[in-house]
Amino acid sequence: MLQVSNAMKRYGGVQALGGVTLDVAEGTVHALLGHNGAGKSTLIRALSGATTLDEGRIELDGDVLQLESPRSAIAAGIATIHQNLSLVGALTVAENIFLGNEKRRGLFVRRGQQRDQAAETLSQLGLDGIHNRRVATLSMGTQQLVEIAKALERHSPRVLILDEPTAALTHGEVEKLFEQVAALRARGLHIIYVTHRLAEIEQIADHVTVLKNGEVVLSQPTANLHRDDVFRAIAPGRSTSGGAGVAHAVNGPAEAHSAAASQAGARPSGGLEVRRLDGHGLRGVDLQVKAGEIVGLYGPLGSGGSAILDILAGARRNWAGEIALGGNVYAPRSPSDALRKGVALVPSDRRSRALFAGMTMSENVLIAKAQRVSRAWLRSTRRERQAFDRVAADVNLIPRDPRAVAGLLSGGNQQKCVLARWLVISEELRVLLLDEPTQGIDVGARAEIYSLLRRAARDEGMAVLVNSSDVEEVVAIADRAYVIVDGAITGTVAAADLTEAQLLNLANQ
C-alpha cells in the first residue's frame, strides 16, 4: 500500500497541494484526474522526488519514504514515466534501456549481456525482436512501452507512475499499452495513472481520485462510479461557458447539428473542397468543408489527418490533386500565402509548433494582428492593447494580463492564446484548421474551446476542419466527420450517425 497523507505544498502565494491524502493499494491502477493546475503534477513531482513536500508523509507498506531527489525516489522503488519520454532516438532499444546504467566489464560495455537482458524484459511486455532497433524508428506506442521496460529493468519498482501515457498513442497502441498495464497490475505494482480521458478510466482504473485546487474532491472505486460524477467533480459550476460546454461535450452537440445544417445550406460558396489529394502518405483524399460547418477528421495518430491540414495551411508542398477554396483553385505556397487567402492552422504539438513560450500573451496573440493595427509601419500600443483585451475576453484568457509569459500559462490557456491568434483576425479568415486542438488540455478548457469553434462556424461562417485522434472529441465537436486510416478516407459519417462506435468501426475496417 502506497499512502500519501496530508500532503501540502506552496509555491510562493500559490497553494499547489492543500492536504492531499491518497491510498494506492497493491496491484491496482489508481487514476488521477484534475484540471491543469489542480495539483496533479505537483503530487507526481513529490512522489518522483523532483520536489519536496512542505508537510505530509509518503509511506510504502508502512515505511516512511524520504524522497529528496529523483535518485532517492528511484531507490525507494518509485518509477515515473513522464509524458515527454526520455529516450534517445539515435540509440538502440537495448542501449536506451541501459543508458547511464550500462553493464560493464572495466571500461567496456557488455553489449551482448545488455541485449539479452533487454530482450527478456521486452518480451515480458509483449515486445519481441525490437531490442536492436533504433528508438527513432519505433512508433510512439512502442516507445512508451520501451520506457516502461527501462524503468522495470533498472529499478524493479514497486510503484509505477504513468503521466498521460496515451496522449500520443493510436487506438491500437492504447489497447496494447492497457494490456501491459493490466499485466503489471497483476504482478502487484502500485500504478498511478494520470489522464484527461475519461473513457480510459472506465477501461483500466480500479480507483479514481480527482484533484481540484490542490485538494481531493472525489475518491472512489471505479466500479460504482458514473462518468457524469467525474465531470462534475473536475469542473463543478464553472462560471463561464464551461458549464454548458461540459454538458455539451458529454451529451453530444445534437441541437448544434440542426443549426449548422440550415446555415451551411445558406452559404454554399465559401468552403473548401479537396479532390484526389496525394503526397505525404495521402492516397487520393476527397473531402469537403462548407462554410459554417465543423467537420471532424478522425483517425489514429499518423493516419494522414495532420498531413492534410499542413498541406491546406501551406506548411507542406509537393502534393498532387485539386483544392478549391470558395470555388477557386487554391494552392498555397507557404503559411503566409495561405493566410492571405484566408486559411489558418492551429497545429498540434503546441509547444514546438505554435507557442512562443518566452514571449508574452499579448505577443503570442497578436503575432499576425500587430501588422494590421500598426500605423505607418509603427506599432500602436493602444490599438494592440484594445485588440488584445477584446479577444482575451472573448476566449476567456486567465489571467487577462497581456504581459504574462505564455510559457507559464496552463495548457488550456496556451491553446486559447494560439486559437485567439486567428480569432483576432477572423474577419479575414474563411477556413480554420485545427490539429488535435485539445491535446493535454483539461475538460473545462476543452469545452470552452469547443464553444469558440462553434461560434466561429455559426456566427462568422467559417469552414472549420478539426483533425483528432480522440473519438470523444470528434463526436463532441463535429457536425459531420471523415475517418482516415493510412492516408485514405475510409468513410464519412453524417450528423445523425455520429457516434464513437460508428467512427471506431470505420477506422478498424
Binding site: G12, R353, W377, R379
Partner: protein, 360 residues
C-alpha cells in the same frame, strides 16, 4: 525548459534585479574606478575617444543583435569590414572616384555580400556558423586581392568621416548611435521587430503564423553586411589607410563579445538592444581604462575574455529565475510595486528544482 513559479519574494526579486543589471553596474563601477585611478580618464578628450572607439563597434553590433535574436550569427563581419574599407580606398586612390560615390559603392558591396550570406543561411537554411565562417576566410582573401598594396592618402574630406567632429562629437558616433536608434525602432516599434524575436523563440511556430521566416533574416544579413562595410569605410577614414590584410581582423569576435556580453542569448529569442549597447560600452571603457593605466595588451585580452565568461554565469542565473537580463529586471522590480495578477502555476511546465541559485 525550466520556468520558475512567479516569485513574490522581495529579497530574491532585488537579487535578480541586481543579477540582471550586473552589466550596468559594471559599467558604472568602471567609470568611477578609472576616474579615481587615472586623472586622464574623466576628461572631455578621453570621453570622446571612448565614444569614437565604440562607434564602429556599435554600428555593426546593432544589426548583429537582431541577427542573433533571430537565432542567426554572422562571423564574416570582420572581413566584410576589411572589404568595405578596401573597396572605398581603392576606388578613391587608384580610380580617383568621388569619395561619396566610393563610400556608397563600398556599402553596396557589403549589402551584396550580406545578401549572399542571407540567401545561403536565411533562404537555403545552411548553417549560419559554417557559411559565415567560410565567408570570413574567403573575404579576407578577397580584400587582399582587391588591394595588394594598402591604399592610403585619401582625399581630405574623406578623412573627416572617420576623424572629424561635428558639434564636438566624433563623426563616426553619428553612425554608431544612428544604427542603434534605427535598430531600436525596428525591434520595438514595428511588428517585424516582434517577428524577429518570434523567429528566435520558435521558428516553426513563426513560420506557421505567417511570419516571413526567410525574408526577415535575409534582410538582416544584408543590413549587417552594409553596416560592416560602412564600418570599414569609417575605420579606413580614421587611419587614412585601408590595409586589406589587417583592417577588421578579429572584429567579428569583438562585436560578438559585445552582443553576448549584453545578455543576448546565442540561441536567439532572448535579449535586448539596450543590453547590446551596454556590452559595447563595457568593452570600450574597459579597453580604454586599462590602456590609460598602462596595462599590457595581454591583460586587456584576459579582462575582456573573463568578462564574457562572467556574463555567461550571470545570464544563466537570470534565466534560472526567469527574469530578463539588462535593465528590464530593474524596471520589473519597480513595476511590480503596482498590483499585477499573479500568473497561475502552469501544470505542465516544471517548477524549478530546489537547487536554484537564488530561488530560496
Amino acid at each position: 525548459m525550466n520556468r520558475p513559479a512567479p516569485a513574490t519574494r522581495g529579497r530574491s526579486k532585488l537579487l535578480s534585479a541586481l543579477v540582471g543589471s550586473a552589466l550596468l553596474i559594471g559599467v558604472v563601477v568602471m567609470l568611477i574606478g578609472f576616474s579615481v585611478a587615472s586623472p586622464l580618464f574623466l576628461t572631455p578628450n578621453n570621453l570622446r575617444q571612448i565614444l569614437l572607439e565604440g562607434s564602429v563597434l556599435a554600428l555593426v553590433a546593432a544589426p548583429l543583435t537582431i541577427l542573433v535574436l533571430m537565432g542567426m550569427i554572422d562571423l564574416s563581419v570582420g572581413s566584410m569590414l576589411g572589404v568595405g574599407g578596401v573597396v572605398a580606398g581603392e576606388l578613391m586612390v587608384r580610380f580617383h572616384v568621388n569619395p561619396l560615390l566610393a563610400v556608397l559603392v563600398a556599402v553596396a558591396v557589403g549589402v551584396l555580400i550580406g545578401l549572399a550570406n542571407g540567401t545561403l543561411v536565411g533562404f537555403l537554411r545552411w548553417s549560419p556558423i559554417v557559411v559565415t565562417l567560410g565567408m570570413l576566410t574567403a573575404l579576407r582573401g578577397v580584400a587582399q586581392v582587391i588591394a595588394p598594396q594598402t591604399p592610403n592618402g585619401f582625399p581630405a574630406g574623406f578623412g573627416s568621416l572617420g576623424a572629424g567632429y561635428v558639434l564636438g562629437i566624433p563623426a563616426p558616433l553619428f553612425f554608431g548611435a544612428g544604427a542603434f536608434v534605427v535598430a531600436a525602432v525596428f525591434l520595438y516599434r514595428t511588428p517585424w521587430g516582434r517577428h524577429a524575436y518570434a523567429i528566435g523563440v520558435n521558428r516553426e511556430a513563426a513560420f506557421l503564423s505567417g511570419v516571413a521566416v526567410r525574408r526577415l533574416p535575409m534582410i538582416a544579413f544584408a543590413v549587417t553586411g552594409g553596416a560592416a562595410a560602412l564600418g570599414g569605410v569609417l575605420d579606413a577614414a580614421r587611419l587614412d589607410a585601408a590595409p586589406g590584410g589587417t583592417l577588421g581582423v578579429g572584429f567579428e569576435l569583438t562585436v560578438l563579445t559585445a552582443v553576448l556580453l549584453g545578455g543576448v542569448a546565442f540561441e536567439g529569442g532572448r535579449g535586448t538592444l539596450f543590453g547590446a549597447v551596454l556590452g559595447v560600452l563595457f568593452l570600450v571603457i574597459l579597453q580604454n581604462g586599462l590602456t590609460l593605466l598602462n596595462v599590457q595588451n595581454y591583460y586587456q585580452d584576459i579582462a575582456n575574455g573573463l568578462a564574457l565568461v562572467v556574463a555567461a554565469a550571470l545570464n544563466f542565473a537570470a534565466e534560472r529565475q526567469g527574469t530578463a537580463g539588462g535593465l528590464t529586471a530593474l524596471l520589473d522590480l519597480v513595476r511590480d510595486r503596482q498590483v499585477r495578477p499573479a500568473a497561475p502555476q502552469a501544470e505542465n511546465t516544471p517548477i524549478p528544482a530546489e537547487d536554484g541559485l537564488v530561488t530560496k
